[in-house]
Amino acid sequence: MILDDFLVRAALAGVGVALAAAPLGCFVVWRRMAFFGDATAHAAILGVALSLVLSTSIFAGVLVVSLLMALIVSLLNGKGYAMDTLLGVMAHSALAFGLVAVSFVSGIRIDLMAYLFGDILAVGKVDLAIIWGGAALVVALMGWRWSRLLTSTLNTDLAHASGIDPRREQLILTLSLAVVVAVALKVVGVLLIAALLLIPAAAARPFSRTPEAMALLAAAIGTASTLGGLQAAYWFDTPTGPTIVSLAATLFALSSLAAHLRLKASRALASAGGRH
């Protein structure tokens, strides 16, 4: 069967995460939630430690801790704290506590690197089912709430006037973020999950005229980075997760450069047109 090939499983896992990360990543960019994504992702390592201690499934542990982290940050939002400071404290202390907690788990050999940077080549059939289940859930949720999410992102007063509760939409994004973190853990690890959310969306921005176009383009860039990164990691014998993110970052750099050149060209054209 085709799923018996570990490379096929890896590719499918990566594409699943990239597809779910694309629309969510766009909202992370639009709403300036990058640090929020980081905090949620870093808390995941605490989830790993807890699930090892309690010998539950890693996925469940990570999901619960990420959800808790996301909810705490959501609750504290708008309570008069400086958000970037608060998130910085939460993100890194969650990571530190997680790493300390993992060291207490004796008797079990843990490949910490696998959780920090992911281990996409070790994705099994059950992992694949969880990843695609989680990704499908997030994509469906985004599709269902899309207009309401967009209106809330545009302006909370406009949302209220149309009978939309922006806090509920924020909660939906928060929950989706926790799910994506939980399913992406195996693919890119906690340190690079935020990169997978942000970079494809940011790379898609200069070539998008509508929010929908940006989400679709981000999905394409994320998918290309995942498949290309897998291939490149195989050729150069490099760690897979970081290679995927490196490729995405390269695409982002190219996209920014192209946008810059296009702007210069249009300015030159405009000034040439003005002289005649």
């Binding site: 302006n155 406009l158 006037a161 149309s162 929010p211």
Partner: protein, 240 residues
Amino acid sequence: MTLLTIEHLDVALGGQRILEEVHLTLERGEIVTIVGPNGSGKTTLLRSIIGSLPPSRGSISKAPGLTIGYVPQRLHLDATLPMTVSRLMGLPRRHSAREIEQALARAGVTEHANRQVSDLSGGQFQRVLLARALLESPGLLILDEATQGLDHRGTADFYRQLEQVRQELGCGVLMVSHELHVVMRTSDRVICLNRSICCAGTPERVAASPEYRAMFGHDSQDALALYRHHHAPTPLELSS
């Protein structure tokens, strides 16, 4: 038909009481304007009505099934969010391309349909926002200094359109404005707000009230002069 009834409304923001004991009713087809100095709670009142701010006391009741069209004072669009004018018109509910075109035509901005919202001038953006609010055929239109950034001509067009919309849709209009002379001309009722309502009534009555004059000083004299001027019969009318 009464669209909106506000009773004993208090609103506090960050422990500070912004509105106190506000009473207000708005009927169908009525244009009511709120005037008042900076920080007097005008925007807070509008935001309470749309449901953005919870009242700390009192009640705001709306007619059942009332749809609200809202044009905010300022709308900052994040540079990371790509948005064409026609896409913005379809948020949160999609409309047919024809409906959007008609709405943009009414606001006089048809040629901008495919432009990025971030490329519009302040006045163009304001018209687009009004067109968007009108697309839902609102029962109540709420405008927060909607003519900010419009030039003299644009402002005149804007109020003409407002009058037309009121006749077509029969909606109530509640707005905040600083342009006293226009307010006096276009409103059925004026409400003078400074934390609580200090005077209210027909434009002429409000303009003549001592509270209003104390609040706006010389401006109020000018506005009243303009108002009277506008309503004075022309020589032609006198002779006929």
